[in-house]
Symmetry: C2
Subunit: 654 residues, 2 copies
């Protein structure tokens, strides 16, 4: 593996650098804002940047679909291209900061706190949209594609990605600083750690970030079994481990397993954390003086961290990425990719023939709903504020040849009925209704990062949309005109009623800055939808286990015992694909895919394998085929499976 | 006057209708939501709609520049066209609501609570941007143009406008429900009532709304002298008087001059209020039963109100406006007008030659600042959320042939420095900097309607911009590149530093949905700036009287004793105009205006007359002239003046 070759070189370089440092100097290198060491010619360095779906929080940049939308594309090649584009923008900014400012601070560097590869175990988790969904294999495969794109394929890392949050992290947000996720080893390895292991095996990942929570009582950032036995010994990880911001304080304030910050940093370092996001590792000096940590362990941590810093070419003259110019930021190429990714992330769930829209059949269109003309539902969280964006309404209007009326109708979650009647009248005036409903990043997100009283510290209290939106929907349906419903959310919400009475239904995860253009392309048939659900869409939360229950019983397509409204992997097209000549051999499955419909389109071919009586995803490939065309593809898999299935595992057809 | 003829007819019709009503029925007609009277075939009617600068709060509509920006155009003809466009949209909506819904509620009707013709006496007043500025004549003339446009020139009123807030109303917002503005008669008539009188004499205005405050201790809505002696007897007003929303409660809760709502409604009705916005006049029934009001007065009020309802053609079959179709809403024509108005409202305050931008001189442009890419600063208050809008950045980018970078740089009023360095780098990268600073509707507005802790219940605590913006400005200036400053605000802020060290300085009042396109046209020279300041731009608030002081001493260009930074009437152009052959005769002044510069442009020719040793505005005319062209214009005036001056009264040159 490339990783090991690189690391050997860079580790030697790191060891030489660290060997010249005093104990005090080494300690200053173990927090996100690492000091410069002037006498050694080492500049300061910041280990905290964000690029979950674009260069985030550091000025203008291209905003790609939120992670859950990237997963919905089931397109590893494109996700890798997105990673490459994102890290080009990050590097260009980093290069400019260094050149113009001489130093780099938070959100200006090349050490990234992305991706988030936690399993979206429960649809109520507010941060679920930062993940690649509920399936461990999909999560690992998409994450690897993104990481490999981000890090590049050169001698050096273009940026350093990070696997977070290690491990078993998925809410509740309100309890995260003192919560213990309790799991047995079977579910731990089968569900929560699989994507971590996959990424460590299939990418050159250098960094793992611990989770806030505890596992079976032991906080992740003091969890020696997790960080040493499992991560390093079992999975073979050779990089460095960092804490999540503020985790150290949770050890004594939240979990109360130590009684001081000095004891907390000692416990964390000794258990395997190498770097602290948050700055508390500065207390290692006192911990050392009190005999709680050894210089050997501090040196080891520093070498781990410096290996990555060397791997990024920070001390090299020949790093090819140093030449990336600012002109790559928001280049036409990147924006075109953002648009394509957005279109490919949209999932068609129902279509009675109204889609694609035949404009010759209608005189005008009404685009209505609280999410129809809003910027924030394009951008999601861990984003930047881009200079330009296209809302859904705007994208539809620009794609349409006939008049398009717009009305908001109602707020996402308030009974204020201002403009409500205007929306009804727009619908009466038009003869095709596109209703854009859903929730928003302000209603599902990280602890303290949402602004809507509806949420429980970021988590969703229910899968049901606020009643004001359902009322608007029912009034629209009552007109007897075609109603296309676009649900915008980062997670499963209850779409039952739309599935029953809507003429068409699309799921749009927060699609990035060009989501509106992408939706216009889909609705009017310029692009055939090809997204698939990366999470189960339940009809109700009533039969789900308690949110705090981390066993996987009755959760996700692998273990859910009920009938979902739309299963994991579901997604319709404007055309049809047939699978034939399926051959299983040598850890791979070959299949001929034929576009048997009348339109060009793309298909995500899903390969499922049976284990313990259940089918689970073990491979996938996205393929574009013109109408009538066929192509033979081979999907490799790992592990042992007794039976195979090509095509999504429609739980409704069991 | 047309008004009287109309009113005679409509009053007869109203009397006949009211004569058929019982006392109880009449009382139900004296609040904003008037009941239907089925046995008389009279439908319900709502007297509360808003259209300060566009059809507001009722779905999609064209958003024109905020009132203060309309005043800055000094263009009566265009303001009349805007009024006509706005009322076309209001009528179209009203027609549709009646047709599709059968009834109309708040914000769906044709009785408008606009314009606001209070005098913008003190730059700290949060609602000042709803007005036409500090000058009584300008206020009256612009208001009349708008009212005449709104109401139309037909047999019926297209909509009914309303003069508010009667009278002497301009803050503080925090005290408005119990504040007494104390003024002597000289300042009352010379400043606070002049625009009311002007509009009553020069328009067919039917409605006057009382102010929340008291004058010399007597609340406006119980103020018999104000509503009878002055408004009706002295000014000849024949329409109806309505309260501001919630005023009745202020009588007993705020001013405590009565001890119950029943006593308050009796006192208000008896003093001259005919209709109550807020519904409290329903208590007139009890007031009548207790002998506090007479049926005669109730009948009179009802007739006053019904005269306007008849004048609007509510009971006519031949009202031409009933045919206005919804297609006028956001028509190309209206949007083009909104764009022109926005451009003509922008005021060039300083230009060292950098404007208009010569694109051949620069490789790229950086557009930076918290107001540079924001929607809300386009829209101001009393607005709707339009389906489309063009931010300043977007407008500049679309108008530019060279690359344009955007960075926010900082928030309007927070020390969060996220993206601050990105903005500095964008400025370093570019070789022309456009810095869009200022405040926002969330920082100056109506009591309870602003969201920024900076304000004092909507009023500005200072004329100085938040320090974070000044810091950004100073860093930009330090680069030594050309810096064009665009200040966006609805009122005077302290521009001293920009005037000193900026290369160009523009004042942009909240310009409506196409403000960005308008700014692009101005910056790149497609349109020559022609706006003029409708308020004095002071260099400091230090020598202003206390905010609560309603005497005019040391306020506005007419009475300010200091040297303003930029005086009322100030505004530069890309071309130059010369005035010649000035002839005064028969209450008019004639002047030949010549465009002596090299570019086409428009000029607002201001006529000042001297009274009591001071020059004050007595007339103005906007005129468009191609380069080299000349035109003779005649400006009529009212009143007696000893000396005249054509051209703005530059207080700095006294």
């Amino acid at each position: 593996m490339q990783r090991e070759v690189n690391k050997t070189d860079f580790r030697e370089q790191a060891k030489k650098l660290v060997a010249q440092m005093t104990l005090e100097e080494k300690i200053t290198q173990l927090t996100d804002n690492s000091d410069g060491i002037e006498r050694l010619g080492i500049p300061g360095f910041c280990w905290w940047n964000e690029c979950l779906h674009g260069a985030a929080r550091s000025g203008d940049a291209t905003v790609f679909p939120q992670a859950i939308g990237m997963a919905a594309t089931f397109d590893k090649k494109m996700i890798r291209e997105i990673g490459n584009a994102v890290s080009d923008e990050v590097r260009a900014k980093y290069n400019e900061f260094r050149q113009l400012n001489g130093d780099t601070y938070r959100y200006e560097g090349i050490a990234e706190c992305a991706p988030n590869i936690n399993i979206f175990r429960d649809p109520r988790w507010g941060r679920g949209h930062e993940t690649y969904g509920e399936d461990p294999y999909l999560t690992g495969a998409i994450a690897c594609a993104y990481i490999n794109g981000l890090q590049g394929e050169g001698k050096y890392l273009k940026v350093a990605a990070c696997l977070k949050h290690f491990a078993v992290h998925s809410g509740p947000e309100a309890m995260r600083h003192a919560f213990s996720a309790n799991v047995d080893d079977e579910v731990l390895f089968d569900t929560y750690l699989r994507a971590f292991e996959y990424c460590i095996r299939h990418s050159n990942i250098h960094t793992v970030m611990t989770a806030y929570n505890a596992i079976n009582g032991e906080p992740c950032c003091t969890n020696e079994r997790l960080m040493r036995e499992i991560l390093r010994d079992k999975f073979g990880f050779e990089g460095f481990v960092e804490t999540d911001s503020g985790s150290i304080n949770d050890i004594h304030n939240g979990f109360k397993i130590t009684n001081s910050v000095v004891n907390s940093v000692a416990r964390s370092l000794n258990a395997g954390c190498d770097l602290d996001i948050g700055g508390k590792f500065r207390n290692l000096k006192e911990a050392y003086e009190r005999g709680l940590v050894t210089e050997e362990r501090i040196t080891e941590a520093c070498e781990n961290v410096y290996t990555t810093r060397c791997a990024m070419g920070c001390f090299a003259e020949d790093c090819e990425y140093d030449a990336i110019d600012y002109s790559v930021v928001r280049s036409m190429k990147h924006r075109a990719l953002a648009k394509k990714a957005a279109a490919d992330s949209i999932i068609l769930l129902k279509n009675n023939g109204v889609l694609p829209i035949d404009q010759s059949k209608y005189r005008s269109i009404a685009v209505i709903g609280p999410n129809s003309n809003d910027r924030d539902v394009l951008l999601a969280n861990y984003t930047t504020e881009p200079s330009e964006y296209t809302t859904f309404y705007k994208g539809i209007k620009e794609a349409s040849d006939i008049p398009v009326y717009w009305e908001k109708g109602c707020e996402l979650n308030s009974n204020s009925h201002a403009n409500y009647r205007s929306a009804l009248n727009a619908a009466k005036r038009a003869d095709l209704i596109i209703l854009v409903l859903g929730i928003a990043p302000g209603m599902e997100g990280e602890e303290g990062d949402t602004n809507d009283h509806w949420t429980i510290k970021g988590d969703k209290p229910t899968l049901n949309l606020p009643e004001v939106q359902m009322k608007l929907y029912r009034e629209m349906i009552a007109f007897g005109k075609p109603v296309i419903v676009v649900n915008v959310s980062g997670s499963c919400v209850n779409l039952t009623e739309f599935a029953q009475s809507g003429d068409a239904l699309l799921q749009c995860f927060y699609p990035g800055e060009l989501g509106g253009e992408a939706l216009g392309d889909i609705l009017f048939g310029k692009v055939s939808p090809s997204g698939r659900l990366p999470v189960t869409f339940y009809a109700t939360e009533d039969d789900l286990p308690p949110f705090e229950d981390y066993s996987m019983k009755n959760r996700t397509y692998r273990f859910y015992e009920g009938t979902p409204l739309y299963p994991f992997g579901y997604g319709l097209s404007y055309t049809s694909f047939a699978y034939s000549d399926i051959v299983v051999q040598n850890q791979s499955v070959s299949v001929t895919v034929t576009n048997v419909g009348a339109r060009n389109g793309a298909d995500a071919v899903l390969l499922y394998g049976e284990k313990d009586g259940r089918f689970e995803l073990i491979g996938f490939e996205k393929i574009e085929l013109t109408a009538g065309a066929a192509e033979r593809i081979t999907i490799e898999y790992e592990g042992r499976y007794s039976r195979f299935r090509v095509g999504f595992d429609n739980g409704t057809q069991k």
